[in-house]
Amino acid sequence: MTLNRRMFLGTGAAAAAVLNAPAVLAESHGKPRVVVIGGGAGGATAARYIAKDSKGAIDVTLIEPSRTYFTCFFSNLYLGGFKEIDDLGHNYGTLAAKYGINVVHDWAVDVDRDAKTVSLAGGGTLPYDKLVLSPGIDFVEGAVDGWDLSAQNAMPHAYKGGSQTELLKAQIAGMPEGGTFAMVAPPNPFRCPPGPYERVSMVAHALKASNPTAKIIVADPKGKFSKQALFQEGWANHYEGMIDWIGEDFGGGNVSVDPNAMTLTIDGEVTDVDVCNVIPAMKAGRIAEMAGVTEGNWAPVNAADMSSKADADVYVLGDASNQGDMPKSGFSANSQAKVCANAVRGALTDSKVFPAKFSNTCWSLIDTNDGVKVGATYEATEEKIAKVDGFISATGESADLRQATYEESEGWYTGITSDMFG
């Protein structure tokens, strides 16, 4: 299919594009063109900043299949009953109306880096001078024995926003009294390192109210996890005796599932489960691989501007990129997008380019008004995005501070979503 498309394109406009230098191409169409694939934390931010700061000098197209983007961030709070699903949904209206971004609701199905075009599932191709990829994640096939995408209704991953999250919540609400919720946690690296453990906290919070004799089992291929001391302190304080975390040392990595029988087997021992949240190993969203910019599971980038190591006209942001020390988070993707936007503008217009600066903070809610956080700042080195300085909440903090931390996370959610969608 890829070949066909390329051949078809080769006969028309794309052939001309290959022959001409990018500057000539840009000139002949009036404005330089940027295409952004993926309207999530990285892509929406990049599209918005490029369009906003270039004040119409760059033509920006954003390709995103969904009309409503449901954030993964705060989706655990929805599971815990702290948010409604509508609180998590955002649309692209302002990006189109206020910033003049051409929003195309479709899938990108191929990238031809020689012709510098993107083809769409609905037919048609889009030429670009610079391409920004922020497609998020897909799952590694065969990562959890017995599970594949066709099992995602019986055993949801709920690791992409929207319907999967709703399904998981409904399944939790339907658990029999004293039933078992199981999670198969992913190996490193994966999106949102504290995400599975915040989820366990939020599920425990919901069950404690509705189904207090229910049990939670976590099978984890890792020996340790993000903010572990904080989560384990919180679980002991709020959910004593409810959560059984089975790490690497106890066979947590040796698992298989049976979605028909609803069983989970950990290190040879079979358990009946009522809800099974399987979060498989991850890789860059498939389009990155099709564009030929991945090495292994992820797309290596230059830290100074987020450009692909394989192609100076392609940038990869967020979860899909392999950049160094930053965790795969919405905050990180948003931070990287601004550095990228600055570089893309500088390359296509004569705007100033400033040195890269990155930061991240990830908040997690353990129980009502019990928020914790971890964060760091980063800089670009030759080799990677490297950590400069960081902090983490301490165990035993006062209730006041934990509440202030939670309130701050609410402020951040409002801040980042308006930074993405305008």
Partner: protein, 234 residues
């Protein structure tokens, strides 16, 4: 004993922050006179009550905004929640310039600018602390230190275009339209207040770890650029 052991480190930290020491330990008697500047709003001593400001008995070692029954400003309450404790050092910084430590404090008082006056004032207030034994006389921070930001830094003209780029990092949390929802607004501030607040985080006088980290890696020129950009952001 333990405090003594810690002294060199504390001293180094204060010196590194560009502090200038008063040449004497505070003199409580002289401090009583300085307290005259406070009595319009604060009482201290037997039967002290809350007036415009809270009474100041037992202030050492207490969290900011922790005196029951007094209605503090939102900013002061936030500082308390973040973990601002009234020690000789934080009191000294607050009394030198209240807004450096707590930007929107309701204490409308320009500050005691003379380091020695503040040292004396602290010695006087310490006598009304519940547990003065906990505050050793020889604690070096009980002496006045200057925290004011160098006027040359305040005078720097920031580049708003650079500020706009740097500000994109702030706008993940702070809102560009100035609304405040769990995180305070930083738009339309006078540049001086902005710069002073950023330095208070940079020097870790303000307690918040995120802001200490963010401000910690900004240099003078960058802070000036940010101040110039946010000043006019509507």
């Amino acid at each position: 004993m333990r405090l003594r052991v810690l002294l060199p480190a504390a001293l180094a930290a204060v010196l590194a922050a560009g502090a200038v020491f008063g040449d004497q330990f505070g003199d409580a008697e002289a401090g009583e006179k300085v307290f005259g500047q406070c009595t319009g709003c604060h009482e201290i001593g037997d039967n002290a009550r809350d007036r415009i400001g809270p009474h100041l008995n037992g202030i050492f070692g207490r969290k900011a905004a922790a005196h029951d029954g007094y209605r503090y400003s939102k900013s002061m309450q936030r500082a308390g929640k973040d973990g601002l404790i009234w020690t000789a050092e934080t009191l000294d910084a607050y009394l030198e310039n209240p807004r450096a430590l707590v930007s929107k404090t309701r204490m409308s008082f320009r500050g005691v600018k003379d380091a020695q006056d503040r040292a004396n004032l602290l010695a006087y207030m310490r006598d009304f602390s519940d547990n003065p034994a906990d505050i050793p006389e020889a604690e070096p921070t009980a002496r006045g230190t200057d925290h004011d930001v160098d006027p040359a830094i305040l005078a720097l003209e920031g580049d708003p275009e650079f500020g706009e780029y740097l500000a994109s990092e702030c706008l993940t949390c702070h809102q560009s339209d100035g609304s405040a929802d769990g995180i305070p607004s930083i738009t339309l501030w006078p540049t001086e207040d902005f710069v002073i607040a950023m330095y208070a985080y940079k020097r870790k006088l303000r307690p918040h770890p995120v802001m200490q980290m963010m401000a910690g890696r900004l240099n003078d020129e960058e802070i000036a650029a940010l101040a110039a950009y946010f000043k006019d952001l509507e």
